[in-house]
Amino acid sequence: MSVDMRTYLAHVELANPITTAAGCASSGRELSQFFDLNRIGALVTRSITMAPRAGRPTPRMAETPSGLLNAVGLQGPGIDAFLDRELPWLAHRGVRTVVSIGGGTVNEYGALARRLTDAPGVTAVEVNLACPNIEDRGRVFARDGAAAAEVVSSVRALMRYDVPVIAKLSPDVADIVAVARACVDGGADALSMINTPVGMSIDTETLRPALAAVTGGLSGPAVRPLAVRCVWQVYAALPGVPIVGVGGVLTGRDAFELILAGACVVGVGTALFHDPYVCLRILRELEELLSARGFQRLADAVGLAHHHPPGGGTRHRPDVLPDPGAPGFGAAPGGSDLEESSL
């Protein structure tokens, strides 16, 4: 049985929920040597900055158990080169493109949004809030709801109304729901989580930090439980807001886990480094899983775990029936193992 894998990022329809994660697929060209980029839901670019950036010194990466620390520092050619060479290349091929942007001031994000407004081929804009705020002594925007909201609303105000603005959140905060809510109040149409939490490792041979930048962002399966928790909490608090779940997805099962927590789109990052074909495999596995569990539509699985609290017996409690107002619950999922739960 084939499953309807379509999903919505705000009002934009994607053919399926699997996208690349920002910074893990460059601008798509390298990946396109391996497969047709139109086969994934969308290509999320690396975070584009105003000026060209050389990034951080090397070593920029260190492997950790089931994870990877990186401190690349947003190396890239800047918005001019992106608009000249990279975006047209994607637009020409009709690739659904989410452009990630990064800046050091609210104005810089605004300037990036202004440059993107008239560029053809922008499906959505993702605001990478894990950038140091120059005007706040380098405090990362994502750690401060007010600063994050200010960035989001300046981008939202400048982007065309039909281009959704996604706020990308970091897990290194006391209250992810508060930051998420501030971003939504600032005009975010969707939320993406999680960016990498900050970690560190020390080389016990050289007796020095393994990364030249000392600390770096931790990604890979090691952070998946953090991503699941963040998606879960935000979905529970803001059930109407579309969530892009990102963090440690290696398999269709992992994507399914984030979807059950409340994600309607799933980003794949570090797994790409291991296997450039991984998005296609994850998509296939996810579809098989949904089909095996009797789902006809991906949308029916989004956030479903919220309605199945832990403990077998509670699945039959009438007070935990899906909220009919929540997105994705228009139709009860089909299939025996769900019918059995008295939906």
Partner: protein, 291 residues
């Protein structure tokens, strides 16, 4: 995987990989997944290719030294185990159009990649001379083969246990002068490449070096493998060793600045604005996935 054997201080693995063997050119590398399917080691390990043979539809041989958990897992593989390998990756060694005199310099396992190159050069009528060195005799790789293939072969060890006592860069000027070398090719540790490049610059002859940088993806998307390289236009950029390299013209690599962002590099904090190079997909034949 076909066979595994010890060669002095190194391990050699022969893989049946027709897709890779068919498209591989000297200087290409491959990326191997380590730790099995449920591995906690997420990044592939990169290795240059020592030998390509037509047997079994096409085999490639890797030569490696155990450094950490990934290579030690690899060292425990046995014949008939399956490996997950992606390749060929990177830009291979450019070959001269004319039959010129080439000196091939290898440090440690870096010499492994030189024999395929020597073969390609000799088929073009080039003269090939080898300079191979390491810290001690058991870390000198391929001395016998070099002696068979090269017009001359000069070996060096730092402890004097084989060949001349010293480093490859100590003997290189003499070899270049003796054989009237037109071009130098080198693969080995960064320090060796830096020294070899300095010698070649002194003789005013071109030098091609194959560098080694820590790589997370091997195909150009992660931006972890960068080093400062001077472009055609004289501008230094942080370029990716995996797709723009691993082979570079030695005099273009700013060896003394590896591990830093030179202040005058494109996009360096406070640097004059200059656009970085266009994202170019990996060279050579297109990567293939095999088991």
């Amino acid at each position: 995987m076909l066979t595994t054997r010890r060669v002095d201080a190194y391990h050699a693995l022969t893989l049946v990989a027709p897709g890779i063997a068919e498209h591989l050119r000297p200087g290409h590398f491959v990326a191997v997944a380590v730790g099995g399917p449920r591995s906690s080691m997420l990044t592939r390990r990169s290795f240059s290719v020592h030998d390509v043979k037509p047997d079994y539809g096409g085999t490639v041989e890797l030569v490696f030294t155990v450094r950490g958990p990934g290579t030690s897992w690899l060292a425990d593989r046995r014949a008939r185990d399956t490996l997950d390998v992606v390749g060929p990756l990177g830009r291979p060694f450019p070959l001269p159009r004319d039959p010129v005199n080439c000196v091939l310099v290898g440090g440690d396992y870096g010499s492994a990649t030189l024999f395929g190159l020597a073969d390609a050069l000799q088929r073009r009528g080039c003269r090939v001379d080898f300079v191979i060195g390491a810290e001690s005799a058991e870390r000198v790789f391929g001395a016998l083969r070099a002696r068979r293939m090269g017009e001359t072969t000069t070996l060096t060890t730092e402890d004097g246990s084989l060949g001349m006592r010293g480093r490859v860069t100590d003997v290189l000027p003499g070899v270049i002068a003796d054989v009237r070398a037109d071009v130098v090719y080198a693969c080995g540790p960064m320090e060796t490449l830096r020294g070899v490049t300095a010698v070649a610059i002194e003789f005013d002859i071109p030098v091609q070096v194959s560098v080694e940088e820590a790589m997370a993806c091997g195909f150009g998307v992660c931006m972890t493998c960068v080093l400062p390289v001077i472009g055609e236009d004289g501008i230094t950029r942080m370029v990716r060793a995996c797709v723009e390299g691993p082979v570079f013209r030695g005099e273009r690599v700013r060896f003394e600045d590896v591990g830093t962002i030179p202040f005058d590099a494109a996009g360096a904090p406070g640097a004059p604005s200059a656009s970085t190079s266009p994202a170019s997909p990996g060279g050579g034949g297109g990567p293939r996935n095999v088991s």
